[in-house]
């Protein structure tokens, strides 16, 4: 082993693994809620996605002739969990596996492995899937469908059938089980000339349901509450800093508040923005991904504000109902330049640049 001559000769004991594990723990509330809401389907999705990621990591490392020790740092497992939580419950199994392969193969290892990827691997895989399979990726199961469709997803054999054969296995049930996400619904309604408030009423939208996770959405994106718990845990553990989440959420809220005050019939209210879609997941778990976000505090605020502006713009004017993921990926491209220009003033440096 290499013995460094250089001080310091003690270490705080933090490791990549401990960092990754704290994020995995932070995702646990959301994962549990997803299992509660979607039954065995969630279990199948999450486990297959994580396995796909781990297998891809192992294969690529072997293929490149590198040590497979990075498997132990839990980063691939985290990517798998994160990706699974952004998938709709009825994603076909092969799509989930493909997503895992994309995430690790194209999202991470092609760039040189952990630490070198410009984008969050889970996020890039999710975007590849969304663009490649727009229909399947926007078919959302209604949470707690038991009462609604008469199907019991806690029945493991039914869930297995749905998971392996996909929606095609039970075409008649699908209509009853699925619906558009609130965002998609409002957007479609607007094109049909229905104003925002009416659309939300028609949808039977409730802020409380959105907060605890009973509106349609991806596995782990439905419950803002569970995700917030995880986010607070990460902040308390000091795995992430407050700059990105606060600036990101605040920007979206402020933009939405201004727009909805000016024209409440066209623009959705700020709270709706904050609770809808994958925003909270994106804010706490994607935008704060250390590898692909800025390291400087000021840079992180710039990054967060940029993400917020992009998210709101894409949601409002873009073709896709959800904009947070695209916003984060677009802002990821700007990270090196943000970091370069947002370096903090060092000790004793004069205010003006000499």
């Amino acid at each position: 082993m290499l013995i460094h001559l250089s001080s310091p000769h003690i270490h705080g004991g933090d490791s990549i693994r401990s960092q990754m594990m704290s994020v995995i723990w932070a995702l646990m509330p959301a994962a549990c809620v997803s299992v509660y809401m979607f039954g065995w389907l969630a279990v199948f999705q999450i486990s297959s996605c994580m396995l796909a990621c781990l297998a891809t990591e192992w294969l690529t490392l072997k293929w490149m002739g590198r040590s497979t020790s990075p498997l132990g740092d839990a980063s691939a497992a985290l990517t798998g969990l994160l990706l699974a939580l952004t998938l709709p419950a009825l994603t076909p199994w092969w799509m989930t596996i493909l997503g895992g392969i994309f995430a690790i193969g194209l999202g991470k290892q092609v760039y040189g492995g952990l630490g070198y990827n410009p984008f969050n691997p889970a996020l890039s895989a999710r975007i590849i899937l969304l663009i490649s399979f727009p229909l399947q990726m926007t078919t959302w199961v209604i949470p707690l469908h038991v009462q609604l469709s008469g199907l019991n997803l806690y029945d493991i054999s039914l869930a297995w059938t749905l998971f392996t054969s996909g929606i095609a296995a039970l075409p008649q049930a699908v209509d009853a089980m699925t619906m558009a996400s609130p965002f998609g619904y409002v957007k479609t309604a607007w094109t049909q000339g229905i104003d925002v408030n009416t659309a939300l009423q028609n949808y039977h939208y409730s802020y409380l349901n959105a907060f605890i996770g009973r509106e349609a959405g991806s596995l782990g994106e439905t419950s803002a509450l569970a995700l917030l718990l995880g986010g607070i845990y990460l902040l308390a553990r000091h795995t992430i800093t407050w700059q990105i989440p606060v600036s990101f959420l605040a920007t979206v809220a402020v933009l939405a508040a201004i727009a909805s005050t000016v024209d409440p019939n066209h623009y959705t209210p700020p709270l709706f923005h904050l609770l809808a879609g994958g925003l909270i997941l994106c804010v706490f778990f994607m935008a704060t991904d250390p590898v692909s976000s800025p390291v400087t505090p000021v840079g992180q605020i710039v990054f967060g504000v940029g993400c917020g502006i992009m998210t709101w713009s894409i949601r409002t004017w873009g073709g896709y109902p959800e904009g947070a993921m695209f916003a984060v990926v677009l802002m990821n491209c700007t990270v090196p330049i943000i970091d370069h220009y947002c370096r903090p003033k060092v000790y004793g440096q004069p205010r003006k640049k000499a």
Binding site: S7, H9, I10, S15, V295
Partner: protein, 503 residues
């Protein structure tokens, strides 16, 4: 985070930026200072401070007394070196000094005669209150006092009254933020009165009235002792014993000034430019001994600690004592598989062997087991850009980006990222989850930059040399030609036309 927010709003006292809270392991904090016996041999390197090396004043065979000057200061940034005990100079040759490279330096070897007789050349200045400040300053210099906190900067240089930058506040640095080390802590507990006297001398010398004794809150007994001792102050000073939250590297001069005053020392300036003077506790004690007793600096308190030392503790050690001898006093004789550090674990140097003398900057001697050491230096993994290093940096650098530039030898870019402002405190390496030896890269970068500067200087020198040679040759040629012309003009009265043209 909330603290940071409040700090921004100005609700709480502003501590310095960044910093870490390492496991302090002050296992020796209740071990009283024991006197280390005289070793059979004392080895005094001729440079024990920052600045120019001294030149020896003694020859082999000379008999010296304790406190006798054996090497004189050369240049301004230098202090003399004194014999740590009475005895005979047996040789003067290169010997290893506490440096990670194991490099050597001219050293004076003294064999003690066991009598420990003092040299009485330097007289104590008992009436220091009515003594001219410059005389006191000379006394401090002649006693060879350099900062005992580890940097060993000649102390007399800081003890000035400058009309343009008057010192308003004196800070006594009792922070001792390095894990393991407790030598200042014990000094404060055991010799608080002497420290207060030393402090009064400093105050008299710089002409200031406000003094803050800064101690971290993990040394409650030291705070207690100092509070009691300052009651004896008869100079009417404005004294404050300040308890600061424990945080590394608060003991660093600039960080301490920021913690206490909220002011940053501007780049390239000294603490006195913000009206502050910082003195280490050990140095203050040494100033007391120099002025009141007339004792030159021949001994210091050293913490001997680490998980491999059977009897950890603090010792009053003569300078020049071999580390092996000191470890033996604490029951450690077998160094097989151990790592020895000179200084604390955060900034101390790893030494290759224990046959190295203690010098003025030796704050601590640590012996760590291989397991302990290995745990601190796991294998390097790729950077995940978590930014913990930037948060921990007391200078507000971006260590991970800076390390990339150093590793790639993009030295100009590294300088742009303030490589040379790095104080090498090690906070970034300490928190790094990828175990990247960031400070190691910064040292490498600084070394490379120094190399480049040297080479550039060398190239410039040789260019200048060759240019001056060329011009000299040209000048000589011209002179010769002129001479020849003159000779021809005088010896050939009517030179032929074509010949003239040829010339």
């Amino acid at each position: 985070m909330i603290k940071h927010f409040f700090k921004k709003l100005g609700f709480s006292q502003a501590p310095f930026a960044g910093g870490i809270q390492p496991d302090m392991r002050k296992e020796t904090e209740h071990s009283p200072i024991e006197v280390c016996p005289l070793p059979p041999l004392l080895i005094m390197p001729i440079k024990q401070h920052i600045g120019q090396a001294c030149s020896p004043l003694v020859a082999v065979g000379d008999h010296v007394l304790r406190g006798q000057k054996i090497a004189k200061a050369e240049g301004y940034v230098s202090v003399p070196i004194h014999a740590p005990t009475s005895g005979q100079v047996i040789k003067i040759e290169d010997y290893a000094i506490p440096h990670p490279s194991g490099m050597g330096l001219t050293s004076i070897f003294i064999e003690p005669d066991g009598l420990d007789e003092r040299d009485e050349t330097l007289k104590p200045i008992e009436d220091w209150q009515h003594t001219d400040v410059s005389a006191l300053r000379e006394q401090v210099r002649m006693c060879g006092i350099a900062g005992l906190g580890g940097a060993a900067f000649p102390t007399f240089i800081k003890l000035v009254q400058d009309q343009r930058n008057p010192i308003e506040t004196v800070i006594l640095n009792g922070i001792e933020c390095e894990p393991f080390l407790t030598n200042d802590h014990r000094l404060m507990v055991e010799h608080s009165q002497k420290i207060v006297l030393g402090m009064q001398i400093i105050m008299h010398m710089v002409g200031a009235n406000q003094v803050i004794i800064a101690i971290e809150d993990n040394k409650a007994d030291a705070i207690e002792c100092m509070k009691k001792a300052v009651n004896d102050d008869d100079m009417g000073l404005d004294i404050q014993v300040l308890s600061l939250p424990t945080r590394y590297p608060q003991g660093s001069e600039k960080q301490l000034i920021e913690s206490i005053t909220g002011k940053q020392v501007p780049m390239g300036k000294l603490p006195m430019h913000v009206g502050v003077l910082c003195q280490n506790i050990g140095t203050t004690h040494a100033i007391y001994e120099a002025v009141i007793l007339g004792y030159p600096l021949t001994e210091r308190v050293v913490t001997i600690s680490g998980d491999a030392v059977p009897q950890q503790g603090n010792m009053l050690v003569r300078l020049g004592t071999s580390m092996r001898f000191i470890y033996a006093q604490r029951g450690l004789t077998d160094f097989d598989g151990l790592q020895i550090l000179h200084g604390g674990p955060m900034m101390g140097e790893r030494l290759r062997h224990p046959d190295i003398p203690v010098i003025k900057s030796s704050t601590g001697l640590l012996a760590l087991s291989q397991d302990f050491f290995r745990e601190a230096h796991p294998e390097e993994e790729p950077c995940i850009r978590c930014g913990h290093c930037s948060e921990a940096c007391p200078i507000s650098l971006t260590p991970n980006l800076l390390a990339d530039h150093c590793r790639n030898e993009q030295l100009e870019k590294a300088a742009d990222y303030h490589l040379f402002d790095c104080i090498e405190c090690g906070a970034c390496s300490y928190v790094c989850p990828s175990h990247i030896p960031l400070v190691h890269y910064f040292r490498f970068g600084k070394g490379q930059a120094a190399q480049v500067r040297r080479e550039q200087g060398f190239a410039k020198d040789s260019r200048e040399r060759s240019e001056s040679r060329d011009s000299r040759i040209q000048r000589e040629k011209d002179e010769k030609a002129a001479k020849r012309r003159k000779v021809r003009a005088t010896h050939t009265p009517t030179p032929a036309e074509p010949n003239q043209g040829k010339e």
